[in-house]
């Protein structure tokens, strides 16, 4: 069990609640509501902590970007696995636990739910943009992927299974570079 006391200075301090996460379209709670309902403010703070937790396989996106976080209440975070056999699932839960503990939310429980099943539709628009910038073609229904290196649409699938369960292996015929494409599920 990692305690805040053994963490390097700075890491144990509660993270500043910055509104950089949360599902898009969520309106910031008006201030007077925070006063009336402290739970609402606490929920926002938890969202902000979660937005700092990177996916262990694709650290450029957070667990919020990926749509892994399903719901947040003042005392509970509900997450969902992405792929049935994804070995990162357990690491993600542990990383979220560590981040919540470090930010002073030790009493917030983490719950895993399977239904409704996660789909790539839950990856936020900013998450998709980050994937693309990182060199991974984001999921889309389109038959061909756009090369994240050179932007060409002249691409082809090499293998349906890539370096992780969530990605397929593609190749660009224009710049000849291979790249990963997030599978559309």
């Amino acid at each position: 069990m990692v305690t805040a006391a053994v963490r390097p200075p700075g890491e144990g301090a509660p993270r500043k609640a910055v509104r950089c996460g949360g599902p898009e379209g969520r309106n910031p709670a008006p201030y007077f509501k925070d006063v009336l309902d402290p739970g609402l403010r606490r929920g926002d703070e938890i969202w902000a902590v979660l937005a700092t937790v990177p996916d262990p396989e694709i650290p450029v996106v957070s667990v919020v970007d990926l749509g892994i976080v399903r719901a947040v209440t003042p005392d509970r975070v509900t997450i969902t696995p992405t792929y049935t056999g994804c070995p990162a699932t357990q690491v993600i839960e542990r990383d979220i636990r560590d981040a919540l503990d470090a930010a002073g939310f030790r009493d917030v429980a983490i719950e895993t739910t399977l239904a409704p099943p996660w789909t790539t539709d839950w990856i936020t628009e900013s998450g998709k943009a980050k994937l693309h910038a990182y060199g991974i073609a984001p999921p889309s229904e389109a038959a061909t992927a756009t090369c994240p290196q050179c932007g060409s649409a002249e691409t082809e699938e090499l293998s349906r299974f890539g370096s992780t369960p969530c990605k397929a292996l593609w190749r660009c015929r224009a710049c000849l570079e291979p790249f990963d494409r997030f599978k559309c599920h």
């Binding site: 696995p81 792929y83 049935t84 056999g85 994804c86 070995p87 399977l114 239904a115 409704p116 099943p117 996660w118 090499l158 293998s159 349906r160 299974f161 890539g162 370096s163 369960p165 292996l169 599978k183 599920h185």
Partner: protein, 276 residues
């Protein structure tokens, strides 16, 4: 295509192949039994596919087989953890995977068949994944919420398995003389084990009646049509039907299962409760 010799049954055996199956249906309840059947299919095939790791014909195929194994072991983990919870005796998925012996496994014979060459592995995968995709499509409506949730998620992953194996069966069947011969031999080996996938024994019928499991007999025709379509594209003929081999669902297995369990269970049995 050389067909395997028919299976000789002892005198007095019943036609359903499970001539010496014990009459202990659905030990531990219908839901527990259903979960073991589902979980053990996934676990054993996942373990089998794992044997290919580092040995596949190309790095892409190596990744594909390992990815499919990972999907299957993920399914097994969900089903067996749930089975342990349903049973209520303090066993979790790991306990069920690593501390049961052959007679307590409820997987079908198809998944425990040896990998053989790559063609034989693809034959097994086509026959199993096509079936599992159709099964999970129905299990999304299961009365058990966990089964329904796992099926809804996994059906999309299993579709990849079915497509990948169909593509390889077609490519090898309609390939060189050697690849064609190997593909035909692989199908010939695995064909005997298809009828068991569609067996509705008393426990399966009860599970379907309670809305937990699916009545697999309802999609046999669709399954046959899908397999026939793949074989037609592969320019292969379906092997002749043989007397079915049944019994895996009641704990009767081929000699291969023990050889799978031995390396799989060695470490947790030798060092109980070992952790990383």
């Amino acid at each position: 295509m050389a067909s395997l010799p028919p299976i000789d049954l002892p005198r007095g055996a019943t036609g359903d192949g499970s001539f010496d199956a014990p009459a202990r249906d659905a030990v531990g309840g219908v839901l527990f039994d259903t979960l073991l059947r589902l979980g053990d299919d996934s676990l054993i095939l996942g373990q089998r596919l794992g044997e290919w790791c580092g040995h596949a014909p190309s790095v892409e195929v190596d990744l594909s087989l390992a990815n499919m194994a990972l999907d299957l072991i993920g399914q097994a983990s969900h089903f067996l953890n749930h089975a342990g919870a349903v049973e209520g005796k303090g066993r979790d998925g790991d306990a069920l995977a690593f501390r049961r012996d052959v007679l307590d496994f409820r997987n079908c014979w198809l998944v425990e068949q040896p990998n053989g060459d790559f063609a034989q592995t693809m034959a097994r995968q086509l026959l199993f994944s096509t079936w599992q995709e159709m099964l999970f499509g129905r299990l999304q409506a299961s009365a058990d919420e966990t089964i329904a949730a796992v099926a809804a998620k996994a059906v999309k992953e299993v579709r990849y398995h079915a497509e990948l194996s169909a593509e390889w069966v077609i490519r090898l069947g309609d390939g060189t003389d050697e690849s064609r011969r190997r593909m035909a031999d692989g199908l010939d080996w695995m064909w005997r084990f298809v009828p068991e996938l569609f067996e509705m024994d008393a426990a399966a019928a009860e599970s379907a009646a309670q809305g937990i499991g699916a009545d697999v007999s309802l999609f046999r025709e669709d399954y046959d049509a899908r397999i026939r379509a793949v074989l037609a594209q592969a320019t292969l003929e379906a092997p002749a039907d043989q007397r079915p081999i049944l019994g895996g669902r009641r704990g009767h297995h081929s000699e291969h299962l023990g050889h799978i369990l031995a390396p799989m269970q060695y470490l947790p049995r030798t060092y109980p409760d070992a952790t990383w």
